[in-house]
Symmetry: C2
């Protein structure tokens, strides 16, 4: 991007990934007067319903990626499981935000943990393991209860297993089939919160108020603001979040999940280098929501201040519940345009002003 | 629409007209999980950027309209200058909201005035005229200052001329070239307000707070809520608005403009059978904005209650001002995706929370 970094109105924003986050990003980009181009191997990717520009190719199709990169003015992605090579191919031809370094750290739990450790940012104790043998040894380093997670490509609680005793480790380890894993101490937390933070390309940072999150089986059920935490904890979380995005020279919106322990200490649980489900409340609680904020950041436009005007409860609509959507009208409803309401699949969300 | 009138998620909403209002309606329909199909003779209509379904044919192309109507589940329109015949063709094949009767009244100022008169709803004194001769005679019925308006197809102050003296009438009348016109008493008002009202297909009504509007040369410059009017005036405006939508058995959002006279009396100035520029503030001031509200109404979903959570100032971005968009970030920005920033053309709008 040139010295004048502000992308002109009418520019095309390329989005890798056409799920609900790509769809909501595309809608916000349209609102700001940009065109969007969705790249996704799935011809029925929901985001392809909300723009007239899309590409349907594999994420490893170099030629298709080059055509895509040459036809857009900036590229972003909706999820952290995009192959790093995909981003590298695109980044040779146009600007990609967030940067590939942030992506490669955040898409691998072991890298992420090491990054946090190096920054002296507290997270749960962990042991990385590359093989069945290493997993078996790890259980002697950390006391159960533990949580065994595949190091890459996990989401919504997939690729995770809780281990309550040393005896369970062998059975659990075999499930992971010699994929790289990470064994973490299972945290007995009071509650979970998240920070949605944005850093623009000039280094300016804005945060939204911390959300209090409720998960079931690893899937987010609801988020509410304000979170029931003291102001001092919120400040600490915000400082940690800004330290992270600064260290990564990050551009765009990042979601950071924290545990608040029984001792009221913060532990970083996970970094998501993208807009985040726990930030959907900002659509109804802030003048500029997380999607508009991300598009502003990656297009060199000024970002919002994150100020919240209302108390909001966000509830996810999962699986076939989408068919039972009640007829009440006290929530703003978002449905993602997915065909197949599989169990636990995120089909939409509802925002209530409380 | 069947007994169970609620349109299923994934249904296709057809929108006649692909300007900014069609675009913003399409975006809200997407948010609710509907697909949209834009019908507009202009291949570059801005709304065609925000969906993958569009048709580019004349509004009088019967076959194209039939194909369109057969491929969607419900039809709405973004502006009142759609030919009545277009709606009639569509209405034979699928549901169209608002209904054709409301459209034909609202697209003709003379019909509109007569409708209001019959309902005993106050509006400015007027005389309809079908010819040059009738215009000349009208000036003897009403005392100048007057405003001469073409009866149909006027918008944003186009097709209007102010007449300060009887002597000016001849020159003015000749400009209108024997088109049907209406000669209205020019109202010396204190301020202009508008009501954005919604009626659903079950007869339920919801209104947004009245907005105070500022026009220049017939073009809306800004709207703000709350309007600086007493509560009693707001109530009267709301009662008039509900009387209008009930009488028309209207389904969807309607914008109604009022003058507040120097004597603090309300006069209806204009009915717009569609979402309205002076309701754009609802995007930042309400949980469910006027676009989501309209889509909910026409798809049989429950409508919002219109409650306002914040004070909002909406400013239009006109013509080449779109190029000068400042870098501040205290407003939520909407740009409409139009190529050509002609003088006075509505290119976007900004919402400020005050």
């Amino acid at each position: 991007m040139s010295e004048n970094k502000k992308l002109p109105i009418g520019s095309v924003i390329g989005i890798l990934g056409g799920g609900q986050l790509g769809r909501l990003l595309s809608i916000s980009a349209s609102q700001l007067g940009f065109k969007t181009h969705i790249f996704d191997p799935d011809p029925k990717a929901p985001a392809k319903q909300v723009t007239n520009l899309s590409s349907t190719f594999d994420y490893k199709d170099k030629r298709a990626l080059e055509n895509f990169a040459n036809s857009v003015d900036v590229i972003t992605f909706e999820f952290e499981n995009i192959p790093v090579e995909t981003i590298q191919i695109c980044a040779e031809l146009t600007s990609v935000f967030p940067n590939v370094n942030a992506l490669s750290i955040c898409q691998d739990r072991t890298n992420e943990k090491k990054f946090l450790n190096e920054m002296n940012i507290p997270s749960s104790p962990f042991v990385p393991a590359k093989s069945f043998q290493e997993i078996l040894q790890s259980v002697h380093v950390l006391e159960p209860p533990l949580i065994l997670k595949s190091s890459r490509f996990g989401y919504d609680g997939k690729g995770q297993k809780i281990i309550y005793s040393k005896e369970e480790i062998e059975g659990a380890a075999s499930e992971f089939n010699d994929r790289p894993v990470i064994l973490e101490k299972l945290i007995d937390f009071n509650l979970e919160i998240s920070i949605i933070i944005c850093r623009d390309m000039f280094g300016k940072i804005a945060v939204f108020d911390p959300a209090e999150n409720l998960h079931e089986n690893g899937i987010l059920i609801e988020s509410k603001v304000p979170a029931s935490i003291p102001f001092s904890l919120a400040s600490d979380a915000i400082l940690i979040a800004s330290k992270i995005v600064n260290a990564l020279e990050y551009v765009g919106v990042m979601g950071i999940e924290f545990f608040v322990t029984k001792e009221n200490k913060l532990l970083v649980n996970e970094l998501a280098p993208r807009v985040h489900n726990s930030g959907h409340w900002t659509q109804s609680g802030c003048l500029i929501n997380q999607f508009e904020q991300h598009i502003r950041a990656i297009s060199g436009w000024p970002i919002g201040n994150g100020k919240r005007h209302s108390n909001v409860l966000m509830q996810n609509v999962l699986g076939s519940n989408v068919k039972l959507l009640d007829r009440n009208s006290n929530s703003s409803t978002n449905i993602y345009g997915k065909d197949d309401p599989k169990d636990g699949r995120k089909m939409g969300h509802k925002n209530y002003i409380r």
